[in-house]
């Protein structure tokens, strides 16, 4: 927890909750998301790994769920998560002939504090949010018989989107989110290969919401 902002972000909803005066409305969301990964690494390092060798993490799509709780006419807190999507990893540089080298699933719940623009009854309300993303990498499979470990990541997340109310309960939403997801990789087989991956994910999501 190097980022001092994160405890503050976590504390803010609590404070707001304690003040909690306004109409409390919950919303559940379900939709699809496309995760555009623009990963960058510090380069793949290890015995016998030619200089310039690297790995690239591919994009993925998944089903997402969200729970949003209104704290005030403009502020809400949202927990977003999805079914862990599978990302393929491919080799690049001098080792590109290896093509796909591994696959990994990531479970990335994210807690946002959202601010909605416009008045409370408006059908169309744009919003922005800031929060904390936690990413855990699971079900890591190597094509090369390696044991691959990826450290967990905790980092800032931001989002911007729009909610559209169809009626009092149902609505549509679309959002674009980015998160700071970094992980240390250790791949072990005949040798030990390491790198630090900055995933730089851009998540486009859209779906249906229901208020209660």
């Amino acid at each position: 927890m190097k980022n001092k902002l994160i405890p503050l972000l976590l504390a803010a909803p609590l404070v707001l909750w304690a003040q909690g005066a306004t109409a409390q409305v919950s919303t559940v969301k379900m939709g699809g998301a496309f995760i555009d990964v623009s990963s960058r690494t510090t380069g793949l390092v290890g015995i016998g790994v030619p200089s310039g060798s690297d790995i690239q993490v591919g994009d993925a799509s998944t089903l997402t769920f969200g729970y949003e709780h209104k704290l005030s006419p403009t502020l809400s807190i949202e927990l977003a998560a999805g079914i862990p999507p599978k990302h393929d990893t491919t080799a690049t540089g001098p080792i590109s002939f290896l093509h796909k080298v591994s696959s990994v699933k990531q479970f990335a719940p994210t807690l946002f504090l959202n601010y909605a623009f416009g008045s409370e009854g408006a059908a169309l309300r744009p919003f922005v949010g800031i929060g904390v993303n936690y990413t855990k990498f699971v079900d890591i499979k190597s094509e090369l018989g390696q044991k691959i470990e990826l450290s967990d990541s905790v980092g800032l997340a931001v989002q911007a989107g729009v909610n559209y109310a169809i009626d009092k309960q149902w609505g549509l939403y679309a959002a674009f989110a980015m998160a700071d997801v970094k992980s240390d990789m250790v791949a072990t087989a005949n040798t030990v290969q390491t790198t630090r991956i900055d995933f730089r994910p851009k998540v486009f999501s859209a779906g249906l919401s229901y208020k209660f």
């Binding site: 909750w17 919950s26 015995i47 016998g48 470990e149 240390d184 087989a189 030990v192």
Partner: protein, 387 residues
């Protein structure tokens, strides 16, 4: 109420996440040994396991000047041979005031165990591998008793190690040569196939990758086996003062330098893979590891620091060795290289100095080279507090 529970768990989750952030993926080979003795010892023997670098004369009978296996011997050690020429193991033993002689002498099916009756504790033999009895030169007569059996032979004689034994373990280079040979053969075939259009460039790359992985996998296996012997057959059998020396970069030898630049890194990697898993297998074991890789790297990079003036040309002359042996030895092996001044069988290259040139042949050190090694290891023994 339901909502409060929900938030409670959400915050609990966040706190949990905060606690686990950062990760702690473990790196193989990164955990050091621990618990080796730190007290001065009075050693009664140096017990050495290894290969040609630690061989104090196993194959002397093969260099018999009378041709019948009997003394006098032309050579016998993998260095320039003379009355005063010593390998590093002998220098260490001498500095501790103990004698060390070959555990076995012989060649071509002939073998004499403990020829000098006392302190026959130099088990290293030219060509020996870690586990495989079929070492380098075995098919042409070399005994190449593997390190596994060297240790077993010591236990058969003495049943256990003594607290007053200084135990030196330095091997794996012949596993490197074996795996490197296999890799080069595979790589040559792959390149031929690619050149003749039998396979495309990508297939060639994949085949090279597979050949490299195979060689590395064998090095990992040998290293973990050696670490296992050290743990189970030395430490668990009374070994107290135990030094394990990691492999040098064989690409820095005259042999290594004779290789194409594209191939040399593969040779380096095999030592590195071996050292990685040797360290991994010896993690948290009560012994000391001497970083042979770094030690030899420094010698290669800064020869003047060690009084070395030439670390690229063998001091032994292959043509002279061939002449002395009547054409029997054509590869310039220092096993047959005698450096006695003025002797008719002297095979030292014109202008070479066995005290300031590092190599006797393509891979083995001169008297001076061995002195550098023994000095470095003696310095380590002081650092360990054993001397």
């Amino acid at each position: 109420m339901k909502r409060i529970i929900y938030w409670g768990s959400a915050l609990g989750l966040a706190a949990f996440l905060a606690a686990c952030g950062g990760g702690d993926a473990t790196l193989a080979g990164s955990v050091a040994p621990v618990g080796a003795p730190t007290t001065k010892a009075s050693f009664s023997a140096v017990v050495s396991f290894g290969d040609s670098l630690s061989d104090v004369g196993t194959y002397a009978p093969a260099t018999s000047m009378t041709g019948n296996g009997a003394a006098p011997y032309l050579g016998g050690k993998f260095t320039n041979n003379s009355a005063t020429s010593k390998v590093w193991v002998e220098n260490i033993a001498a500095s501790l005031g103990v004698a060390i002689t070959p555990a076995e002498m012989g060649f071509a099916g002939q073998s004499m165990p403990c020829p000098f009756v006392v302190n026959c504790t130099a088990y290293g033999q030219g060509g020996s591998r870690v586990t495989d009895p079929n070492g380098i030169g075995h098919s042409t007569g070399a005994l190449t008793v593997p390190m596994k059996t060297q240790i077993a032979n010591h236990l058969a004689r003495f049943s256990s190690f003594k607290a007053s034994d200084l135990i030196m373990v330095f091997g794996g280079a012949n596993d490197v040569f074996t795996q490197f040979g296999g890799f080069v053969a595979a790589a040559t075939q792959i390149q031929t196939d690619a050149a003749t259009g039998k396979i495309n460039a990508e297939q060639a790359n994949l085949a090279l990758f597979a050949a490299q992985s195979q060689a590395q996998s064998e090095m990992k296996k040998a290293a973990l086996e050696l670490a296992g012997y050290v743990r189970d057959q030395i430490l668990a059998k009374g070994g107290k003062y135990v030094v394990v020396i990691t492999l040098p970069d064989i690409a820095d030898t005259p042999f290594g330098n004779s290789l194409p630049a594209s191939v040399r890194p593969s040779l380096t990697d095999l030592s590195l893979v071996f050292n990685l898993w040797l360290r991994d297998g010896l993690s948290q074991q009560p012994l000391e590891i001497v970083d042979g890789f770094a030690m030899f790297k420094d010698l290669y990079a800064n020869p003047a620091k060690y009084g070395i003036t030439n670390n690229t040309v063998p001091a032994c002359d292959a043509t002279k060795i061939a002449a002395v042996t009547g054409g029997a030895v054509k590869d310039g092996s220092s096993l047959f290289c005698n450096s006695t001044a003025g002797a008719p069988f002297n095979a030292i290259r014109a202008g070479a100095d066995v005290n300031t040139w590092a190599f006797a042949d393509g891979v083995h050190p001169t008297t001076g080279g061995h002195k550098v090694i023994s000095n470095a290891i003696a310095a380590q023994l002081k650092i360990f507090g054993w001397q």
